[in-house]
């Protein structure tokens, strides 16, 4: 038995079991016989085991340096540390698809366990298995991770050095795929709901799954931002690169969906919109993969290109076709009834989802605009951060305004408490903006400060409302706070998420507006001012780390201590990679990059210093958002259905 043989056998078995499960689901649908659903669930289990076997086969090959497989021969090196060897599985195309397929199989099995509704079950399972079949098919026929090499080499180049420069390589892609794959569950439920004509309940039933996917995507985006901050060596965390955008689009659409879904859950409205949002959100994950892997768009993330581009394009079209052809039927059948007062909880939820959807539209258009213009006029244009920053600032401000007010409003209208809180929040906004202006902040920054104060006030007002409701029921002060925190998990979690978003916005505003970036060449022993800080170059040294060479500068920075920015030389790269040294601080991050050094005598080094305020709070905000999502999700699967039952009753 070799890893290659095990892997190929597992892929074939996985494909066969998935196809079998899909056939059984179809049969269950047509024959209206639940026994076939049970059989299909077993087939899904078997295909999950096969995917796991394939996953372990590739890990086996990587960890035992088996170069008879093309994937290891191209992407693996015996010199890599063990964790890099393990993570090499998703460092290139074929392995990434294997990881995706494994997660898809895992989610299918988990979702299958919770399928109780015999009207929807065959269609949910069938959709998930159909998606899984696509990934097994890609691996078998287009991008086989276990393709053999005729003459196995004894050493390979290892994964892209940009990837193995940081341990995030082991984390960020996994989170991203867990998020992407997670959206397939609500999408499958939506397809099933459209097929089975049960338009209302799927939203509440998939809320848990949607939040899990949203949580993973959020974590992946923050982790990716931090990774690029630590590794890419320019002191930024988000560059509006096409591939970053591709991960942001599903996040935005999912956010839009989460907000209108609340209105559907409560008032039975926006059924067609929710189908459209979830279809687009899932399609966006495929679209992202198509963008990365097809090479249509230039990006720092384009580590691999291959024949999968057209295949993913086909899959994308299939997803859109299925979603929207079903949607056209829904649109002709669903007759939502009801007036909607725009000054109410549901009105503001609608506003939020309108802004999110618009943001998604802007990101899609901005990312594709160079292609569109080139096709239409033959001209070449670039769209990057100056455009996106300019456009997202006002949209973000509107979103922050809606975000604070929304949860305060009762359903259906406004009440005295909300009105009082709103006037308080407006005062906080005006006051904080004015104070920031007095301190010399620009208008944008001042507004950012004001909006943070506004949201902070909103948070307190919401908590106050929740607690006082419990006090009126006769609880003591402490007991009321506890009751509020533990009984209204959904509300409290949502407020934590909203607070995290407000904090993240503040961090983004400050770090964008007051970032200082300067560069200076110092002789060893020389001291100078860079970007307002006294900096002394103590020494320059070299180190052989086996799989790479490192040149390290020892730099003393005023008020920080000695920092060690490095340049890494990998045997496979002809130019060095900068490994910045970051000092995290509550007010400012100091970020040093060794830009160049005297290669002849080692007497001088060029140091770039990036000083960015409040970046640390961006990562803290990410943590708060995730904690908020966990707070809602943690109790488990079951309340989705309980909640649905409550609403139905």
């Amino acid at each position: 038995m070799t890893p290659g043989l095990l892997g190929n056998v597992a892929l074939v078995l996985g494909f066969v079991f998935t196809a079998l499960g899909l056939l059984l689901s179809l049969f269950a649908w047509w024959a209206k016989d639940a026994r076939y659903v049970e059989a299909a669930k077993r087939a899904a289990w078997l295909s999950f085991l096969a995917a796991l076997a394939a996953f372990f086969a590739l890990e086996w090959a990587l960890l035992t340096d088996d170069f008879s497989i093309a994937y290891t021969a191209k992407n693996h090196s015996t010199k890599s540390p063990t964790w890099v060897k393990f993570a090499t599985l998703w460092a290139a195309l074929e392995g990434s698809i294997l990881l995706w397929a494994t997660f898809q199989a895992l989610y299918t099995v988990l979702a299958a366990r919770k399928l109780k509704d015999y009207w929807m079950a065959p269609a949910v399972l069938g959709t998930l298995l159909g998606i899984e079949l696509f990934f097994f098919g890609v691996m078998l026929f287009v991008a086989n991770p276990f393709a053999p090499v005729p003459h196995p080499p004894s050493e390979g180049p290892g994964p892209n050095p940009l990837l193995q420069n940081h341990w995030m390589m082991a984390v960020h892609p996994v989170l991203m795929y867990l998020g992407f794959v997670g959206i397939s569950v609500p999408f499958a439920y939506a397809v099933a709901a459209m097929l089975a004509r049960r338009y209302q309940s799927w939203v509440a039933e998939t809320r848990w799954w949607t939040l899990v996917a949203f949580g993973f995507l959020t974590a992946a985006i923050f982790a990716g931002g931090w990774w690029s901050y630590e590794v890419l060596g320019w002191g930024g965390y988000w560059a509006w690169d096409p591939v970053e955008n591709a991960s942001f689009i599903p996040w935005l659409l999912l956010a839009a969906f989460l907000h209108t879904a609340l209105v559907q859950e409560r008032r039975g409205m926006f059924k067609t919109w929710n189908f459209a949002y979830i279809t687009l959100a899932y399609a966006a994950t495929v679209f992202g993969t198509f963008l990365t892997r097809s090479g249509v768009i230039q990006s720092v993330h384009a580590f691999v290109e291959g024949a999968v581009g057209p295949v993913f394009l086909g899959f994308l079209l299939a997803v859109l076709l299925v979603g929207f052809s079903l949607l056209s039927r829904v649109a002709s059948e669903v007759r939502d009834v009801g007036g909607l007062n725009l000054v109410s909880r549901e009105g503001l939820l609608l506003g939020a989802s309108l802004v999110f959807a618009t943001m998604a539209f802007v990101v899609v258009l901005g990312t594709l605009f160079p292609l569109i213009v080139e096709a239409a006029t033959g001209d070449k244009v670039s769209v990057g951060s100056p455009f996106f920053d300019a456009v997202f600032a006002p949209l973000g401000a509107v979103l922050l305004l809606l975000m604070g007010a929304g949860p305060l409003f009762p359903w259906g209208g406004i009440d005295a408490y909300a009105a009082r809180a709103l006037s308080l929040m407006a005062s906080a906004l005006a006051l904080a903006t004015a104070v920031a202006l007095l301190f010399g902040a620009g208008f944008g920054v001042a507004l950012g400060v004001g909006l943070f104060a506004y949201n902070l006030t909103a948070l307190l007002a919401q908590a106050g409302r929740g607690v006082s409701a419990w006090r009126k029921k006769g609880r003591g002060a402490l007991a009321a706070v506890l009751a509020y925190l533990t009984r209204a998990r959904r509300q409290v979690g949502a407020q934590l998420v909203h607070f995290g978003v407000a904090l993240a916005a503040l961090a983004i505003v400050f770090s964008q507006a007051y970032r200082v970036d300067a560069q200076k060449t110092l002789e060893i022993g020389e001291q100078a001012r860079i970007g307002g800080l006294e900096v002394r170059l103590l020494d320059l040294r070299a180190k052989d780390e086996g799989f790479r060479f490192a040149v390290i500068a020892d730099v003393e920075v005023e008020g920080v201590g000695v920092m060690h920015p490095r340049l890494h030389y990998y045997p496979t790269m002809n130019s060095p990679l900068a490994a910045p040294s970051v000092h995290y601080g509550l007010y400012n991050d100091d970020y040093l990059i060794l830009q160049a050094f005297d290669t002849e005598e080692g007497r001088w080094a060029t140091i770039r210093l990036v000083r960015t305020p409040l970046v640390l709070w961006l990562w803290i905000a990410g943590g708060i958002i995730l904690f908020g999502i966990l707070y809602i999700v943690f109790p488990g699967f079951s309340w989705g259905r309980k909640r649905a039952a409550e609403v139905a009753a």
């Binding site: 720092v300 100056p386 455009f387 130019s575 830009q595 002849e600």
Partner: protein, 147 residues
Amino acid sequence: MRRLVLLLLFAALALAQTPTGEPPPDLSPEVFRIASELRCPVCQGESAAESNAGVSQEMRRQIAEMLKEGKSEEAIKQYFVERYGEWILYAPPRRGINWLLWLAPLIGLLVIGYGLWRYLKVAQAREAELALSEEELKALERRLEEE
């Protein structure tokens, strides 16, 4: 000893490093700010401030020089546009087809907003259609009591 290792390594690396006898120039924050709005011509979607490719370093040096000469930000950008075309700007100039891009948020808000408004209007009309008048309600109540 360590000095020796360093020198040996430097000798080995001299080939890999871009050949520069002189150290790179000192750059002010202004330089990086301008460079961040320009594309690195040889990179895969990185700005001239982010990238460390030779061209980007050269661009930053040129920006620093032009700033020293007292040129304005606009003039500096114009210089690069003349050399590379408008493609070098990360924010496309506001004219012609590019308006489509700059107005995208407005277009998005209006189109999606119009869709939502249409939806709400229809839903509201249905509600009005289905709603019962006072008399109908009373008639129904009476029937319930009778039965």
